[in-house]
Amino acid sequence: STVICVFEKNAIEIDKDLLENSARSLETLVSVGMKLGVSKKAYDHGLPNLERCALQ
């Protein structure tokens, strides 16, 4: 089974590591709650306080 999320164009800045693995056709093992990306609006106005955003 699979879940697919579709974000509107330019709505999200997906984390780089996830995009890089995917571009090599490699899946990344993740858990619920791990960071996926940041809204483009926030990204364009300066990154949120990501120090608090642990991967796990």
Partner: protein, 605 residues
């Protein structure tokens, strides 16, 4: 009466003998014709060294013609001689593709004996690059040496032995020899290739494996190839091969006949594997194309392939086999021992590759089914019903009290991947396997990234994730189904204009994963749209098949979450083989916080 019978029997035998003689004669003529071409091809590659010396110079000149650098070359990486002990693998890069061997034992004299058929084309690539990598726990896939071989030169050289030894050069200091590699290369006999190919495709429909084909079996195969040959024509062909008129023919007999027939009037007008249209005027190349495609489609070759670079191929089992997830593992304890092969994904938490167990035979069968038009064609219209049926059956089984006894075995099999400490209830709590399958986790065991900041989206499931900034990227790197589109995925009822060319994130759940999915962004849940469909497997074998459109054909439920930070986010839960039951725990209009439980998948149709 007896006399008449004898006469009749005798004349019948004579007729059959006569037919047999005619057929043999025809085959002899056709073989002669093909062998002449083979000699032509071989002389073109074996003797055309460019010197044009001797009385045969006109022939040499002709042989040098690039037109004759064509056919199937069988390249074998035999063994290496390295300067230290380690585990070794070798890659062959030719044209746009790279293939790799298995990994050798720890030795300084690795033996691979890996074969690969390469397509030689006029005006095509001539130089093959061989790269040898050492691989161990400390130094994974480090390039140690390489050599480049001009296959045209190699095949035109007269060799005393069946193989040639090449120096392996240090990639950083190309003048330094770091080892040697033994390689053989020959041009395959087109007649044998043709017969072998016909034999193999015929064997697909030899369901009982007795080496004989009935007319319905033969007919079904021709239909699967999409050929509109009239029934009468098929019967005619079949009868021609059925020399004793007993209604069945051996694979060899039919293969010979088909090889000849393909020469006269092609039966296959498009490649059954890749769908490419075959030019009627270029029969030899068509056969070569079909053979190579078929080899790739069935994973029949010793070397794995399909990589773009030698570096990628050195990580081939990561890049390719990581796509080979398996539904077989739902059958508890099936994949153990020697039948298990490996699958890798990149673990984001540990930043390491994670190994998963997989049954090699299942992988091959799934490839055969999902990645070839033949496979899907043969499964035919009954596929959807079969998948639905086994999913419903599995659902009933997993909801039975008896199924609870499978839980400990399942946990044991995936003991490295299921953390029972995370599970909310002890194993005894679960009365059926399905209850365990949709197990809840203890609060807090999945921390939510930046919980207080809704600008940060989170992963919606414990899963294998792929993400693409646009649909084009997803089609380039992952989804190969020809009919995939956002509109097709979301269906008619969800307005998709805002999502066209949007960002796509795919969360694929494996059998051992926690099967509840969560809300990735904070917002308000829109309407739920159930889209009926079939239950193809969602594993990458199917996703990577251009013949299978899993995401747009499978049963699914689509909804949206309206957010202040991301606009609308479409959320699609897709059922799959055996796990086709989708349950949502929220309803339209609910305000959800990222990380909230949203629903779960369970066994059923």
């Amino acid at each position: 009466g007896n006399e008449n019978s004898k006469e009749s029997s005798s004349s019948s035998l004579e007729r059959k003998e006569s037919r047999r003689s005619r057929l043999k004669q025809k085959l002899r003529v056709e073989r002669h014709h093909l062998r002449n071409r083979l000699r032509h091809l071989r002389s073109g590659t074996r003797n055309g060294n460019g010197n044009g010396s001797g009385s045969d110079s006109s022939s040499h000149k002709k042989l040098l013609d690039a037109d004759h650098f064509a056919g199937i070359a069988l390249l074998t990486l035999i063994r290496g001689e390295m300067k230290f002990r380690d585990k070794w693998l070798a890659c062959v890069s030719f044209g746009e593709q790279t293939f790799r061997t298995q990994i050798s034992d720890s030795t300084d004299k690795p033996v691979w004996n890996s074969e690969k058929k390469l397509l030689l084309e006029k005006n095509g690539p001539e130089v093959a690059r061989i790269s040898v990598f050492e691989t161990n726990k400390l130094s994974s896939n480090k390039l140690i040496g390489y050599c480049e071989i001009n296959l045209l030169e190699f095949l035109t050289r007269d060799l005393d032995s069946d193989y040639e030894i090449f120096d392996l050069l240090d990639p950083s200091t190309p003048n330094v020899v770091v080892g040697k590699i033994h390689i053989s290369c020959s041009v395959e006999d087109p007649v044998e290739t043709e017969k072998g190919f016909a034999r193999r495709i015929l064997s697909i429909v030899d369901y009982n494996g007795d080496g004989q084909l009935s007319f319905p079996e033969f007919s079904e195969l021709i239909n699967a190839f999409g050929n509109q040959v009239a029934v009468a024509k098929k019967e005619e062909l079949f009868k021609e091969a059925d020399l004793n008129g007993d209604g069945v023919v051996s694979l060899d007999e039919l293969a010979s006949l088909l090889a000849v027939q393909q020469e006269r009037e092609p039966i296959m007008t498009c490649c059954p594997v890749c769908g490419e249209i075959l030019e009627a005027s270029d029969k030899l190349n068509n056969m070569i194309h079909l053979t190579l495609c078929f080899d790739e489609g069935t994973g029949n070759q010793v070397m794995t392939g399909g990589f773009l670079t030698d570096k990628e191929a050195s990580y081939g089992w990561m890049f390719k086999l990581s796509e080979w997830a398996h539904f077989s593992s739902y059958d508890v304890g099936l994949n153990k021992g020697s039948s298990a092969s490996h699958v890798l994904v990149f673990d984001r938490r540990t930043k390491r590759l994670v190994e998963e167990l997989i049954d090699g035979k299942i992988v091959l069968s799934m490839r055969a089914i999902y990645q070839s038009k033949v496979g899907l064609g043969l499964v035919g219209k009954g596929a959807k019903e079969i998948l639905q049926s086994i999913s419903e059956k599995q659902g009933r089984k997993m909801n039975s009290l008896e199924s609870a006894k499978d839980i400990p075995k399942f946990v044991e099999f995936f003991k490295d991947q299921i953390n029972l400490a995370d599970v909310k209830h002890p194993l005894e709590h679960f009365k059926t396997f399905n209850e365990f399958f949709v197990r809840e986790l203890k609060p807090g065991v999945r921390p939510i990234a930046c919980m207080e900041d809704d600008n940060v989206a989170i992963c919606a499931a414990d899963c294998r994730l792929t993400a693409f900034t646009c649909v084009d990227d997803s089609l380039r790197f992952w989804i190969k189904g020809r009919k995939f589109s956002i509109q097709g995925l979301l269906g008619q009822e969800i307005s998709s204009s805002a999502f066209i060319d949007g960002t796509l994130v795919i969360f694929r759940l494996a059998p051992q994963d926690y099967h509840r999915f969560h809300v990735p962004v904070t917002g308000t849940v829109g309407k739920f749209v159930s889209i009926p469909g079939c239950l193809y497997t969602v594993n990458p074998i199917a996703i990577n098949s251009k013949y299978c459109n899993v995401f747009t054909e499978n049963k699914r439920v689509v909804t949206t979450i309206s957010t202040a930070e991301f606009g609308k986010v479409a959320f699609v839960a897709i059922g799959a083989t055996m796990v086709g039951s989708i349950t949502f725990l929220k309803k339209t209009g609910d305000y959800v916080k990222k990380g909230d439980e949203f629903g779960y998948f369970s066994f059923g149709g």
